[in-house]
């Protein structure tokens, strides 16, 4: 596959997507297209367990290059395609990790928040700068408050203030912060922490956890029982069916 704006490294268990060839660190329609193609490959063909997103040492990403969504005018469908790409990550049969070094602005935070895990080096700088560009954040509005709370989310989005990896960790936005020299060991330790996870159980845990923010328990329970039955039914999982009998079907 010919990739111009991203590069990919594959090992048996880890695929790393580098956002290291973006023009000025900005994500354009071609980037979205290349990312989508690689995600489809991973979904359909790859046996790896982990997908890691990285930028360069200085920049994870500076957001969407909306001026280049379309040569003459803004292609509003570009926002849909970006969100669809993020949705593909959210449903991907891999454990996803964002390794953030340097600048992480705007939609680059969308990407990081969509991953299962976020780690950052102490040179990372975060900013939700969409309002300054005259646009709205997408996935970030949907996700950020779940990590740091509504009040802090509004402050971060509405001011665009720059915050550090340490602050991001303190607010619960990232899972760990490392000094720059420790980021590789940090990534290794992070992957080891998830190594034992069955991918189906991991995916269903991801889904149920995210859904728990938007549904009442009476609606959660049916999904939980269906998911529980699915994971227990997998070969080698064992266990007993504990379905309740109040509503048979």
């Amino acid at each position: 596959m010919d990739l111009q704006l991203i590069s990919v490294n594959e090992t048996d268990s880890v695929t790393t997507i580098y956002l290291d060839k973006l023009e000025n660190g900005l994500i354009n329609m071609k980037t979205i297209s290349e990312l989508t193609d690689v995600l489809h490959y991973l979904e359909d063909e790859s046996k790896c367990k982990f997908l890691v997103f990285r930028g360069s040492k200085e920049c994870f990403g500076r957001g969407l290059d909306i001026a280049k969504f379309y040569p003459e005018k803004i292609d509003y469908d570009g926002f849909r395609k970006w969100e669809a790409m993020l949705r593909t990550i959210d449903k991907l049969n891999k454990i996803t990790v964002a390794v953030i070094e340097g600048e992480c602005f705007g939609a680059a935070i969308d990407l990081a928040l969509t991953c299962d895990v976020r780690i950052a080096s102490d040179n990372a700088a975060f900013s939700h700068d969409e309002l300054g560009k005259g646009i709205l954040p997408g996935q970030t509005i949907f996700q950020l408050g779940k990590f740091c709370g509504l009040g802090k989310m509004l402050e971060l989005i509405q001011t665009g203030k720059v915050y550090s990896a340490g602050e991001a960790f303190d607010m619960g936005i990232i899972n760990a912060a490392y000094d720059a020299s420790g980021i590789e060991d940090g990534l290794t330790a992070t992957l080891a922490g998830y190594e034992a996870n069955d991918i189906n159980i991991h995916m269903l845990t991801r889904r149920l956890s995210k859904e728990s923010y938007s549904i009442v328990y009476d609606n959660f329970i049916g999904g939980y029982l269906a998911a529980q039955h699915r994971v227990i039914s997998l070969p080698g999982s064992g266990g007993a069916d504990d379905a309740d009998d109040a509503e048979i079907i």
Partner: protein, 374 residues
């Protein structure tokens, strides 16, 4: 295969290229109909005079808000009498004729068509046994042509929607351009009710509703302005080892009424097997799940829907029409899947080139799927 070896394939475009030039029957019109009276769950349980707290809780906990039903007028005490076998069978016949007539006229009226233009009528029901079958009664009441081709499909239960569409599709295809096939799913579920205070009876009484659907199919050789989807193909599985999980049986103690028996394992068995059916369908056409834009699923019950959602990775939005049909109408057996299809049509969101999957499941244990192309 590594990424270097991987060649990006637009599977949907490949599919479109492959079928280019083929002619498939199209659903040129559809309609739905229900009895005039809609009941909330609380109204139903009060009409049955149910005192059991467990059964009342089962009705109250249901995700169904209301259902259209043919129920007798209540007596002075506000409850309905326990209908006899004769009354239930008569109700099935009366309801089938009323709803079958109404839904057929509605379906044809969308195209200003006359009943005389129908070449084949296929009638589906599992909520009552008639001899002669519904199709004969409808020929009489609708004044259909006496040389009309007739087919009655009985006993396939909730799964029947999709396989009966297969029959209609094959008939329209075999008959060539212009042949008009009317597919009617008519279920008078209230004629399979038994008014006993058992959990088994209560589950059935709390879940199923009365309703009818009509789909008109035609193979159109020339490009058509008709917006209805083309029916591309089907895939099904029957899991006979689970045959006992969903069946009619004689009710244990009184009057030899038939009653539906449902296993509480049913949603999970469906969930465990639904991927095989879906991927069998998609593989047949070289498609991926992401190529499918519209999901139209039989509203079997809340747990069935949850099981399908979590096993196929579908969202509430993907099955929004089915969730609403379940909530607003209950399970109308064979026709439910087409109530969802009609909601999708009315949403006017399906675009030319969109692909959709129909899924129904029922006794056998059967899981059925079909592929539609707008």
């Amino acid at each position: 295969m590594s990424l270097k070896e991987y060649t990006r394939i637009d599977t949907k475009q490949r599919f479109m290229d492959r079928i280019s030039g083929n002619v498939y029957p199209r659903i040129i019109s559809m309609a739905t109909a229900n009895p005039p009276r809609r009941y909330t769950q609380l109204e139903v349980i009060d009409l049955f005079g149910t005192k059991s707290p467990k059964i009342r809780k089962l009705f109250k906990k249901s995700h169904i808000k209301g259902r259209y039903l043919y129920l007798p007028e209540p007596g002075p005490d506000g409850t309905i009498h326990n209908e006899t076998n004769h009354e239930l069978l008569s109700k099935h016949l009366m309801g089938s004729i009323k709803l079958g007539t109404e839904v057929t006229r509605k379906c044809l009226s969308h195209l200003n068509m006359e009943v005389s233009e129908i070449d084949h009528i296929i009638c589906v029901t599992s909520t009552g046994l008639l001899l002669p079958g519904i199709s004969a009664h409808l020929v009489k009441h609708l004044k259909l042509r006496n040389d009309i081709q007739r087919t009655d499909i009985v006993g396939m239960g909730c799964s029947a929607g999709v396989p009966s569409l297969r029959c209609a599709t094959e008939s329209a295809s075999a008959g060539g351009p212009g042949k008009k096939v009317l597919l009617l799913c008519i279920e008078i579920s209230s004629s399979a009710y038994v008014n006993y205070e058992t959990i088994q009876a209560a589950v059935v009484n709390s879940l199923f509703g009365d309703g009818a659907t009509a789909l008109l199919l035609e193979t159109q050789e020339a490009p058509s302005n008709t917006k209805g989807p083309q029916v591309i193909g089907f895939e099904s599985r029957i899991l006979v080892e689970h045959m006992d999980m969903l069946r009619y049986d004689l009710f244990e103690n009184e009057e030899n009424k038939i009653s539906l028996i449902l296993s509480k394992e049913l949603p999970y068995i469906i969930g465990n097997n639904i991927e095989n059916v879906l991927y069998g369908l998609l593989d047949k056409y070289g498609l991926k799940k992401r190529d499918i834009t519209h999901w139209v699923v039989h509203a079997g019950g809340r747990k069935v829907l949850e099981s399908i959602k979590y096993n196929l990775g579908l969202s509430n939005h993907d099955i929004r029409h089915t969730m609403i049909v379940h909530s607003e109408y209950g399970n109308m057996s064979s026709g439910s899947v087409f109530f969802s299809l009609e909601r999708l049509k009315n949403e006017e969101i399906a675009k030319k080139g969109d692909l959709g999957v129909l899924i129904s499941m029922g006794p056998g244990l059967a899981i059925e799927s079909g592929l539609l192309l707008w």
